[in-house]
């Protein structure tokens, strides 16, 4: 479960203070599929960084599974990311010229999981992410955009995180491939009950989720259940 209490993030540039987030409070339960929507500069990326334990808030509390994460050191945050968070990025961020399997085992490698065990887990999570087995030993740069994003999703899943954070996961994909990725998320949410938060500026993407949080100028302006959820045929 994720709980943010009065989170404020201020960036200082000389004497000018910018409020990237201003008193944001929100709560996301386990198994929820949420979109955080807002235009660029709205503070949604900053919120994602804090939710993803990449950064600390200036003030306020952030509880992840009941633990206060907002005051941890860099090294402790790294541990949180390793054990509880899975990231999916707009530009996939796969290791170039490296096999799919090795890309997926990367988080487990830092967690110190033995080689055979992590390969097993990687295969399971690649299957869950919907990538065909024939691609497992391909190099990351031999894949299509959609396949690469599925590898990235598998990598995010591999450590069984409490939270999967996807930052514009369809931003680099055409609509059709984007839908494949979104349906992958829907399947994961339904079947594995993964908690998924998608950060996006596209209403069409947000409409595939159960709940949409609108953010603007560092503050939540609307937080509502998505009544018009588009359910994709599972591919």
């Amino acid at each position: 479960m994720i709980e943010c209490k009065n989170i404020t993030k201020i960036y200082k540039s000389g004497t000018v203070e910018t409020f990237a987030l201003n008193d944001v409070s929100l709560k996301i339960n386990d198994g929820e599929f949420v979109a955080i929507m807002g235009p660029s500069g709205s503070g949604k990326s900053t919120l994602m960084h804090i939710l993803g334990a990449l950064d600390n808030p200036t003030s306020g509390k952030y509880f992840l599974d009941g633990n206060d994460v907002s005051t941890l050191s860099d090294e402790e945050l790294a541990d949180i990311r390793m054990n509880k968070i899975g990231f999916v990025f707009q530009s996939y961020n796969l290791l170039p010229r490296t096999t799919v399997l090795r890309n997926v085992v990367l988080p487990l490698m830092y967690a110190g999981v033995p080689r055979e065990e992590r390969e097993k887990q990687a295969r399971v999570s690649l299957q869950n992410a919907g990538l065909d087995e024939e691609h497992f030993n391909h190099l990351s740069n031999q894949l299509s955009g959609g396949q690469m994003q599925r590898v990235a999703i598998a990598r995010a899943l591999v450590n069984n995180p409490s939270l999967i954070l996807a930052d514009e996961p369809t931003g680099n994909l055409d609509t059709k491939t984007g839908e494949i990725v979104l349906s992958t998320f829907q399947t994961l949410n339904e079947k594995k009950h993964s908690t998924i938060v998608i950060i996006t500026h596209e209403p069409y993407v947000a409409e595939h989720t159960d709940r949409i949080i609108y953010i603007r100028d560092g503050a939540i302006i609307k937080d509502e259940k998505n009544t018009k959820k588009i359910i994709l045929n599972h591919i």
């Binding site: 960084h49 990231f87 530009s91 290791l95 090795r102 990367l106 110190g112 080689r115």
Partner: protein
């Protein structure tokens, strides 16, 4: 992160950019290779000089005439060894009165024109006594050496070196019984010495030995000797032997002030030590020149690592996002640098060995690749990897993951 993972990550990172890694390694390869080759040349030179000094005999003390000074207190000096102050009587006195002297071989040597039928050469003629082979480590190949009988009866017999034999009679002939003419005096050849190898200060294979008395009477025309070689009973007694000889000769020559001695005494170990100093300096000089290229190679490594860190900023960001700690990142990049220099060191040792072999084969210079130089080169290359990889690794580790992920 497990060690084997670290190596796998590092190895694949190096292999992704084979050409660049290869070129960067080349700097280290050349550096290490030249250090090994240069040190091997230095060591080889040292070895061959030392062995040639040892080949003139062991535990040897050489007594030679000192400065020739004008009459009275004239300050004019004709240079070391030019005086004619030592006689066979001095040698006999040393042999009789000093217990530490195992064997004493006086000699008079000078260059003469030597002729046989149709051939002639100019070579060193050494007049000496029967113990000379023992003192100066000379082996007889054919016939025999000069005997005491030859010396006392002023026999006109000669023992020649293998090079002289080749010059006067032709290669591999048996010249025993033939006649050679030295300074218009005929000598009968009674022996040929074994080859000692023609290296070192003077070619010990191009020489003619005749009885001391014969040389003094028929060739030099006086009673002086040019060198007295004294063999000590063992290595530890050389210093006291040297002192005793000095005291004895001062007394015999009626000289009270040791600084005005008309002779000089050289200890073989001093000669070896002097030669070693020279070759050590030479080795250090060569190694430092090669060391400069090693430093340049190290800078190449650092340059490549900095480029790599910049290029892989996003990758570093991702690694941090999935849980890598600062330490993981810095160790990974440090290992990459060390692995590069390690491979470079390995190839460098092979190259150095090969160069040393080529130098030996084609330039005829003795080389010797020692284990210590290999170990040294190896550790130096590892240290270079750590030193020049440290800064780039720190830079990678301290990247902010958010900035790194955003980096285009």
């Amino acid at each position: 992160m497990i060690i084997s993972d670290l190596f796998q990550e590092t190895f694949s990172a190096i292999m992704i950019n084979k050409a660049r890694s290869g070129l960067t390694i080349l700097g280290i390869v050349i550096g290490i290779g030249s250090v090994i080759a240069m040190v091997s040349i230095g060591e080889g030179a040292k070895g061959s000089i030392e062995s040639s000094i040892q080949s003139i005999g062991s535990n040897l003390v050489l007594v030679m005439p000192g400065f020739q000074r004008g009459a009275g207190a004239s300050p004019v000096s004709s240079g070391r060894g030019s005086a004619t102050t030592l006689t066979k009587d001095d040698a006999d006195a040393i042999e009789q009165e000093i217990i530490l002297a195992k064997a004493v071989a006086p000699e008079v040597s000078r260059r003469y024109q030597v002729t046989t039928k149709g051939k002639n050469t100019n070579t060193q003629v050494v007049g000496t006594v029967a113990v000379y082979p023992e003192v100066r480590n000379v082996q007889i190949d054919l016939g025999s050496f000069i005997t005491s009988q030859n010396v006392s009866s002023l026999s006109k017999v000669a023992v020649i070196g293998p090079s002289t034999r080749d010059d006067l009679f032709g290669t591999s002939t048996n010249p025993i019984g033939e006649t050679i003419r030295i300074n218009r005096v005929d000598f009968k050849v009674i022996g040929v010495t074994q080859s000692k190898g023609g290296s070192g200060f003077s070619n010990q294979d191009d020489v003619i030995y005749v009885p001391l008395s014969t040389a003094q009477r028929f060739l030099a025309g006086d009673n002086y000797v040019t060198t007295i070689s004294v063999e000590a009973i063992d290595q530890n007694s050389m210093a006291s032997l040297q002192e005793q000889i000095s005291n004895l000769l001062l007394q015999r020559h009626n000289i009270s002030n040791a600084s005005l001695a008309d002779f000089q005494i050289m200890n073989q170990q001093d000669i070896v030590a002097t030669a070693s100093t020279v070759t050590n300096t030479f080795t250090i000089l060569l190694a430092s020149i090669a060391g400069i290229s090693l430093i340049v190679g190290g800078i190449g490594i650092m340059n490549m690592m900095l480029t790599t860190v910049t290029e892989r900023t996003r990758e570093i960001g991702l690694r941090k996002a999935v849980g890598a700690k600062k330490k993981d990142i810095s160790v990974q990049f440090l290992t990459e640098a060390v692995m590069l220099t390690f491979f470079g060191g390995l190839l460098g040792i092979i190259l150095g060995w090969f160069l040393a072999f080529l130098v030996k084969q084609f330039a005829g210079i003795a080389t010797s690749v020692s284990l210590s130089s290999i170990v040294l080169a190896f550790s130096v290359s590892a240290v270079i990897g750590i030193v020049f990889g440290y800064y780039p690794a720190q830079r990678a580790a301290s990247l902010n993951p958010i900035e790194a992920l955003r980096y285009e």
